[in-house]
Symmetry: C2
Subunit: 157 residues, 2 copies
């Protein structure tokens, strides 16, 4: 089984960072619509979206939020992180097929309650920022390694 | 076909609000894991989650972000809204089976660029705030009514 290990508050230093890549797929736009309840045709209907200023389907803005939250939970600080807050600034649309890079960097360590602020940056394949923001978390106090459950297989009809 | 109509910048007044309900389901935790890539067992593995301080599975924090984004896109201001920014404060965990109420209220209308700030509040079935925050959007300039595509049918194996 695949495992991941966290970085504890004590192990984190300002400037530490982690990166993950993500390809925006058709399946994902559909699943995000199902999960969120957002049925806007801008994300689901190519013909409708082609006639908007975006000239094609774009991802739900909060998909980027979901990708940041996954990076916090999996990469840095990882398992045991308690998510306290997030601010997000949506800079550019994310299009179907975009290859995103999600980069989190430790910006500040507070002295109380193991609170850490991480700078969050998502860029696209043209190296343009699509989302920026800050995450506020309580970093784990203890080192843990956990087994990762397999993702379920999803079929869309 | 189901349709929705937006509220334009001019139609919105400070204090206007909209509410939607949402039941947190098993399927959703699994789909959110797939969409985000967050495979933390706290959301997927009941046995693991039962042995944490949460005493059972909780939803991914950013699921609440997704619900707010859907309310902006569908309810207020609705279609044509451009999402500029969001801040979120995660106050309490959201558990599997929770019945959430997502309430958005117009807090401020800026004079330039049709910018509107909405107060975002998610409460659970015990009327406790689980997420609070502010959304910043560019409200639509023109009234539109759109057809809503059906959500795809999703099967999880």
């Amino acid at each position: 089984m695949e495992t991941i290990t966290n970085k504890t508050y004590d192990e984190l230093s300002v400037g530490d960072s982690a990166e993950r890549k993500h390809l925006v797929t058709e399946q994902e736009l559909q699943l995000f619509a199902v999960v969120s309840g957002d049925r806007n045709p801008l994300h689901l209907d190519e013909e409708f979206a082609a006639n908007t200023p975006f000239k094609g389907r774009i991802a739900h803005g909060m998909l980027s939020g979901a990708l940041i939250s996954a990076a916090l939970a999996m990469d840095i600080p990882g398992p045991g992180t308690v998510y306290l807050g997030q601010d997000l600034s949506f800079k550019r649309p994310v299009h179907l097929g975009d290859e995103l890079t999600i980069k989190l960097t430790v910006k500040e360590k507070k002295e109380r309650k193991n609170i850490v602020i991480l700078d969050c940056l998502i860029t696209n394949q043209d190296d343009k920022a699509v989302v920026t923001g800050d995450a506020t978390v309580m970093a784990p106090a203890e080192s843990v390694t956990i087994d990762l459950p397999d993702l379920p297989e999803v079929t869309i009809a």
